[in-house]
Amino acid sequence: MSRDPLVVGNVIGDVLDPFVKSTTLRVIYNNKELTNGSELKPSAVENEPRVEIRGRDMRNLYTLVMVDPDAPSPSNPTEREHLHWLVTNIPETKNASFGNEIVCYESPRPTAGIHRFVFVLFRQSIRETIYAPGWRQNFNTREFAALYNLGDPVAAMFFNCQRENGCGGRRYQSVSGWT
């Protein structure tokens, strides 16, 4: 049984197939580095993060995908996956602002339940021309990767997010009188 947070959190399964991590991805919101599997408020993730790709060879180019597999709600993910951001041709050692933003960053605003937001990084073999999909809903990362021959992901991270004043999914206070 794997202890990898991506597996335990079902990112591997719902969004991706198992892969071997080969690149270090850093996602930084408001000068704070994101810890995999942590929870952030919508206000904290309103603006796009700085996404750094560690490495040595600037010739390597990467594609970054950010999706919400729990749209519109985790118990009823009919819009899985909702595409939040798509950037290509990011040079290694640099951050996402050096790439081509194909789909601009959409601030997470979950209304129902606690959603996962997943960053996936692919290494490109060549400089790509990637076309934006017609809409953000029902994006399929696996298919996207297959379509553009991106191969397996080289890194992935996720965080959880719920409504700004969310209660963690608990709807009822324990009130005496309820059975």
Partner: protein
């Protein structure tokens, strides 16, 4: 009529009745004579007359469409749902059987409410199928009751499944974060140990006393 039964089975799942078993038995025997013609009516009136302490949450439809001739105090009275649901059980014998079963019922009624808990567990078991649904089903009268309780069971079942999934997701979230933190901690510990080792090695390589900073000293001055 059917809707009433449906509402009853759904609503009464949430209710508790602080009535003692003993009281109920007394009503059953004593008030038999002056009751309305049907068996159902008798139980109903008994309950209405009985000491119901707690106001119950009753759905609108139940109150508005009483299937039986109910006496006037019904609307302000908190309990029309209860007697009607109790009616779903055929005989006193059943009550007794269910009473025996009730001690480990699932509802959280107050400790004195034995009867309450067994009634709610009785029909709630009938309606929504927790502890021993199959036992109770075989006992109670089938027919119309089964149809309506089947719907209730379905809804409850779906809700239960949804709740389970939600709980599983919650556990997964928590576990994933914990794992990540543990990984980070072990990573950092390793790095820390490595760096400390490096530092020690470098220190000993230079020479133990830290090199003294040489302040500027006078030496030969150039002639020009």
């Amino acid at each position: 009529m059917e809707e009433v039964w449906k509402d009853i089975t759904l609503n009464t799942f949430h209710q508790e009745r602080p009535i003692t078993p003993l009281d109920h038995h007394i009503y059953h025997h004593h008030h038999h004579a002056n009751s309305s013609p049907s068996f159902k009516g008798m139980i109903l009136q008994d309950f209405l007359a009985g000491p119901l302490n707690r106001p119950l949450h009753v759905s609108q439809t139940v109150v508005e469409q009483p299937p039986l001739p109910l006496p006037l105090p019904l609307p302000p009275y908190p309990s029309p749902a209860l007697p009607e649901t109790a009616l779903s059980l055929n005989s006193g014998l059943e009550f007794q059987y269910l009473g025996a079963d009730a001690t480990n019922s699932h509802s959280n009624s107050s400790s004195s409410g034995h009867n309450a808990s067994f009634i709610s567990s009785a029909f709630s078991s009938v309606a929504v199928g927790p502890p021993s649904p199959t036992d109770l089903f075989s006992l109670c009268s089938k027919k119309r009751l089964q149809e309506n309780t089947a719907i209730g069971v379905d809804r409850h079942h779906k809700r239960m499944i949804k709740n389970r999934e939600s709980a599983a997701r919650s556990r997964a979230r928590k576990q994933a974060y914990t794992n990540e933190l543990e990984l980070e901690v072990s990573h950092l510990k390793e790095e820390n140990a490595k760096l400390k080792k490096q530092y020690e090695e470098l220190r000993s390589a230079i020479g133990n006393p830290l090199p003294k900073r040489h302040p500027l000293r006078r030496s030969t001055t150039a002639p020009f």
